[in-house]
Amino acid sequence: MNNIQLQDAPRAAQDTRETVVVRIAGDSGDGIQVVGGQLGLTSALSGNDLETFPDYPSEVRAPVGTTYGVSAYQIHFGGRHIKTIGDEADMLVALNPAALITNLAIVRKGGRVLVDSGTFTARNLDKAGYAVSPLEDGSLDDYQVMAADISRLTLEATAELELGKKAALRCKNFWALGLVYWMFGRDRQPTRDWLQQKFTKAPDIAKANTAALDAGHVYGEAIEAAGEATSIAVPRAPMAAGLYRSVTGAEALAWGLAAAAELSDRKLVFASYPITPASPVLHTLARLKDIGVVTFQAEDEIAAVCAAIGAAYTGGLGVTSSSGPGISLKQEAIGLAVSTELPLIIVNTQRAGPSTGMPTKTEQSDLNQALFGRHGESPVPVLAARSPADCFEVAIEAGRIALTYMTPVILLSDGFVANASAPWQLPNMDEVERIKVKNHADPEGFSPFLRDPDTLARVWPVPGTPGLEHRIGGIEKDFASGHISYSPENHQKMTDIRAEKIAGIAKSIPALEPDQGETGGDLAIVGWGSTYGPISRAVTTMRAKGYKVSHIHLRHLNPFAANQTELLAGYAKVLVPELNTGQLLRQLKAEGVGHAEGLNKVSGQPFLVRELEQAIANIMGAV
């Protein structure tokens, strides 16, 4: 269903809010992610900007009704540019007691809590860990509770279709969605259309879910008429004109890699081994065989990076992808790509470590690994993506650097960026700069380590080219001939030139500028990666309150932009928030930003906007 037209402005309602955070939670089998996705889509169609985040249980299939089987979906939508998924929820939908107990803490005091009272049975309360029903003991007094027997109401709404109890109860997620649609004035038609398309082969299921959706909506209208609840209007956000879709970071990254291949006229060979939270990139690319993408699910992480190196040797765009533990396994082979000077992209979707750590939780703790995780002197460029949409651009930038400089490039994403989704204005591919890198073809005076005097990149002689037959490997090579060399002077020279080549990339990086705020001043907040959203929102809010604070966000972590140290010297104070113990901070200090301070959090959770606002207030005092 393409090119849905935006709807008219929302109807008049009794309450207006600039932005709203809704969290929907239930059992893994309740279809939480599906209705969350629908709420996202209709919110976009209502002209809101938004960001969403799925919170899956770690267990693949936990027993029904348990706290560890709860699946949740958070969505922040509103009438301004949305940068985060929101510190706290204005509304929680809890489809069972376990969903309530595990998600209540995120609801702001005074927020709305919709529960399916039909699931608050002794058995379910016990499984969730409630001694007494929270609906009866006053523990929810701080919230506006809407207790509806959604289970029973769903059965009634779908009775005509005679699906049987089990199948009918599966529709209660859409009943809840119907009520949420009423509350925020969302149009039901796109979801009706989606259901019809989704269940073409099971029209009764489509009808039942539609009936549940409508029943939830009618229920809302009825309580509004009875004066028991009010609906809320959320204004349109100012969005640039163009064609949009919703995209997760993993999808945008995968498409960015495909774009880099297209822009450089190379075959994308993507080799990966399954690992949380990196696998969605593999899944996305595996569906693109028909645009010429080759994906390879390798036998292990090492084979994955090696296959990507083999593809690079053969003239393809070789990419491998994993998360921290898998990157550790790949490091020896990345050293081979450094030594043979082959283009390669290594994507690290970071997660909480060390070791297995917390695979589904986010962290920025692999920067040191990216910079220093190999043996020998082996510098590698490092980039980081700040948001789902940014993943697309950074993947292209990784391709540009890898191909232009004949070097492996590490691209850092993380579990948060990969899984979050947001509206994305589709790029016009004709306007994106092409990556012009040719295979070497001239046998005259050929050596595999001939270099471009400007970039210091070596030539790319690809098998299949007559006259360029040559041998390379991980053994040190002679600067001139490329043959094996153990000469002390030559090793020094090659070590120096490999370092110089990577440092020289800085010349091609645009000058760093503040994302918000003045150039020079009292305080700069310097971030990288997925902390972009919370930092950006906090700086916007604090600037509105009169604080002279600037936000600077780094995409290039090695080498840094050439003007970075000078830019940061212009601020009296520099604060570096990171989801690690200070890995970028150490680099900044080493580069001469001696006055930088860290703000560090390693809990597996992203920064809250209010934590950053507080930090800014603490540093700057009252204004």
Partner: protein, 336 residues
């Protein structure tokens, strides 16, 4: 008029690099055989790639004037996989050893074979780690004394051909470094096979494991302790061809029987397409039964690298990005 390209001679495949193996090493014989094979099959230098791991045998690519990639320990099959995925038209030879291919890189070898990538794998088996100075290897026999096993090794070796068959290889062969004619024939058969072709080469390391294969390669023992496999020919061996292999219903395996030369009654006929027979042949060891040499198994099937590339371009990336739900924000849409 296009000039017909001049046929290359074995010497035309030599590089200018000084060969660095120990004098008398079996690798020299294999190198010589390989150049003969390349000339005989008319290999195009530019379309041929030798990929190796680490070890004495892995220096092989430096000495052949084609494309060559000397990679890291054990990973040649994985890197070669990427080469074939990027360009399935290249002719890829993987050079590995018993330590490189069956110890540190055993996993990759197994998966390359079962996936059936279109290439040749030459495993130089010398039952030792030559380059690191003589430690015992995964193919060393029990009680092998080495710097790391001064009292003799206690672990059981893996048999390369059985490993390959067990991994699902569709072509498995054996040859001896110094039996040049057989080696050349086996390598040509491996090249002719479409899919992963695995060849174990018994290679003499004169420095650390001299004559370890003497029980079946020594001049006076070869005829009696080797059976040369020929598809469709009876499995006879011995100085005067008076011994033959027969099916033994008792053990469900093979046994040796006496035959009259020229009349092979009771002898099994080799069928390279029979996997059970290949397994039975791979398990024979002297002195009870002869070592099976030549092509044990040759039964081609679909090739992975071709399948992985088998899609015609139906869409462009923009079509992908525009698929699914999209919506348009019109110019002038303002905040309400």
């Amino acid at each position: 008029m296009n000039e017909f390209p001049k046929a290359l001679k074995p010497a035309d495949y030599a590089t200018d690099q000084e060969v660095r193996w120990c004098p008398g090493c079996g690798d020299y014989a294999v190198l010589k055989a390989m150049k003969t094979v390349l000339a005989d099959i008319g290999a195009k230098r530019e379309n041929t790639v030798f990929v190796s791991g680490i070890g004495c045998s892995s220096r092989f690519p430096y000495y052949i004037d084609t494309y060559g990639f000397h990679t890291i320990h054990g990973r040649a099959p994985a890197i070669a996989t990427g080469i074939m995925l990027a360009n399935p038209d290249l002719d890829v030879w993987i050079i590995t050893g018993d330590g490189d291919g069956l110890s540190i890189g055993g996993n990759h070898l197994m998966h390359l074979l079962r996936r059936n990538l279109n290439c040749q794998v030459l495993l130089f088996n010398n039952e030792t780690y030559g380059l690191t100075k003589g430690q015992y290897s995964p193919t060393s026999r029990v009680k092998t004394r080495s710097p790391s096993t001064p009292a003799g090794s206690i672990d059981h070796p893996v048999d390369p051909a059985q490993f390959a068959l067990g991994s699902g290889a569709r072509f498995v062969a054996r040859a001896v470094d110094t039996q040049i004619k057989q080696l050349v024939d086996v390598l040509k058969a491996a090249h002719a096979h479409r899919g992963a072709a695995f060849v174990e080469i018994f290679q003499n390391c004169i420095v650390f494991n001299e004559d370890v294969f003497d029980d079946f390669t020594a001049r006076d023992k070869a005829a009696g302790n080797q059976v040369a496999l020929q598809h469709g020919a009876p499995l006879v061996f011995g100085e005067d061809q008076t011994r033959a292999l027969a099916f033994d219903p008792q053990t469900l395996g093979l046994s040796a029987i006496d035959v009259v030369p020229g009349d092979h009654k009771g002898a099994l006929v080799h069928d390279a397409g029979n996997r059970n027979l290949a397994f039975a042949l791979s398990q024979m060891t002297p002195p009870e039964l002869p070592m099976a040499m030549g092509v044990l198994y040759d039964n081609p099937t679909e090739v992975y690298d071709v399948g992985a590339n088998d899609a015609s371009r139906k869409r462009a990336l923009v079509d992908v990005m525009r698929s699914g739900f999209t919506w348009t924000v019109e110019p002038g849409a303002k905040a309400s």
